[in-house]
């Protein structure tokens, strides 16, 4: 089951945007996420998907696009 609806929900809760970013759109390059919304995104993902993201995985590249976020979340639940 796609995690994209949940990912979009979290992105909208932390970012000041009205549109849905494309799956491969860089959330950093477009300014959707910055250094101060990124930690909130991580917290939001943990709550939305009931997962714990360890400190060692807190690398920005994992969270740069919707697709990368989903790929990463998939590794957590496997």
């Amino acid at each position: 089951m796609s995690k994209q609806p949940g990912i979009l929900k979290v992105i909208h809760s932390v970012a000041d945007i009205t549109h849905d970013p494309a799956e491969d759109e860089s959330l950093f390059a477009t300014g959707t996420l910055d250094s101060f919304t990124l930690p909130d995104l991580v917290n939001g993902l943990e709550q939305e998907f009931a997962v714990t993201i360890p400190d060692s995985d807190l690398v920005p590249e994992r969270f740069d696009t919707r697709r990368k976020i989903e790929q990463y979340l998939d590794t957590l639940v496997q």
Binding site: S35, F36, L38, P39, D55, S56, V59, P60
Partner: protein, 315 residues
């Protein structure tokens, strides 16, 4: 901790040259408004070309000793934190000791940026049992370690120095507080996130640093408070490394305490790296006294981070 340790006094020194966002806008291509909005910094101080890290540290140390009403000759150990000292060795600790008139008193460098003063305070708390009075100094000239070609970092930093006297005894003059407990941490897996090579300029992966700080600092504080049965809402003030106002807000939110419980002077001085915690403590203690638990916390290159809990001195 190995015994009683008291915070006797703080001190600080800020260089005279003001650098506002308009000046940085010319240099970096960012607008003054953008700099203010993204950092919460209005201005910072830069050291004069003739000033050294030891010069700044000496001024803060003298301010601290004067406030403590302690003669320099009573200091048993100096710990000097700096991530921006001019040479590999000797560091500024020995220079400072000589300029305070010492010829044999141990003076040890802590080449640690950002969290350096917290680590100095933590080490001092355990070392006072042997050395009596430990003078912790942190001084930085970050303005010589940034480049305008990296605006993300150039807009953040300022120069300054802070100091703190920690003693085995509360002293004839009332001590500020008693150090109750502390915790230090290191995670070298993110060592490359924030670096300063010999002769180079500061390199920071901002997103990586903020992700780690936003997670590790609140946890360190929460763990320390829980261990000591102190509720976060009962903390009188949080005195932090002044990295960024937005980060302070994030930590406050995580701990579920009002943001105004976090003292902040970053608008006036920017990020002065290891010096910022003691400058903040000095400024806060100018207009307040410790009436409840006080938390000191810092985070920086290494990654190094930690927290220290101080409480009012028992009457």
């Amino acid at each position: 901790m190995s015994g009683a340790a008291y915070l006797r006094a703080f001190g600080s020194y800020l260089p005279e040259q003001f650098v506002d966002n308009a000046a940085l806008a010319v240099r970096t291509g960012r607008t003054a408004e953008t700099i203010e909005k993204t950092t919460g910094i209005s201005e910072r101080r830069y050291a004069a070309p003739v000033q050294s890290v030891a010069d700044l540290g000496l001024a803060a140390a003298q301010d601290c000793l004067a406030r403590a009403h302690v003669d320099a000759s009573a200091v048993g150990l100096i710990l000097f934190a700096s991530g921006s000292s001019e040479r590999c060795f000797p560091g500024p600790a020995a220079t400072l000791a000589a300029r305070l008139g010492f010829t044999a008193t141990p003076a040890i460098d802590l080449p640690i940026a950002s969290a350096g003063s917290l680590i100095g305070m933590a080490l001092a708390a355990d070392l006072v049992a042997r050395y009596g009075n430990v003078l912790v100094v942190a001084a930085e000239i970050m303005s010589r370690r940034i480049t305008d070609s990296d605006p993300d970092t150039a807009i953040l930093f300022g120069d300054g120095a802070g100091a703190c006297l920690i003693s085995r005894d509360s002293g004839p003059a009332p001590a500020i507080a008693h150090i109750a407990d502390l915790a230090l941490y290191t995670d070298g897996n993110f060592a490359e996130s924030l670096t300063l090579a010999h002769g180079g300029t500061l390199a920071m992966r901002g997103l990586e640093v903020i992700m780690q700080a936003a997670r590790k600092v609140p946890r360190a504080i929460a763990d320390l408070l829980a261990k000591n049965n102190v509720a976060a809402e009962d903390v009188q003030v949080f005195l932090m490394h002044q990295a960024n106002r937005n980060l302070l807000a994030k930590i406050a939110k995580e701990l579920k305490v009002p943001e105004d419980r976090f003292f902040s002077n970053i608008a006036s001085f920017g990020n002065t790296s290891s010096a910022s915690l003691l400058i903040a403590a000095s400024q806060w203690s100018d207009s307040a006294s410790v009436t409840g638990p006080v938390v000191f916390a810092a985070f920086g290159a290494g990654l190094q981070w930690g927290a220290l809990l101080a409480v009012p001195v028992a009457s």
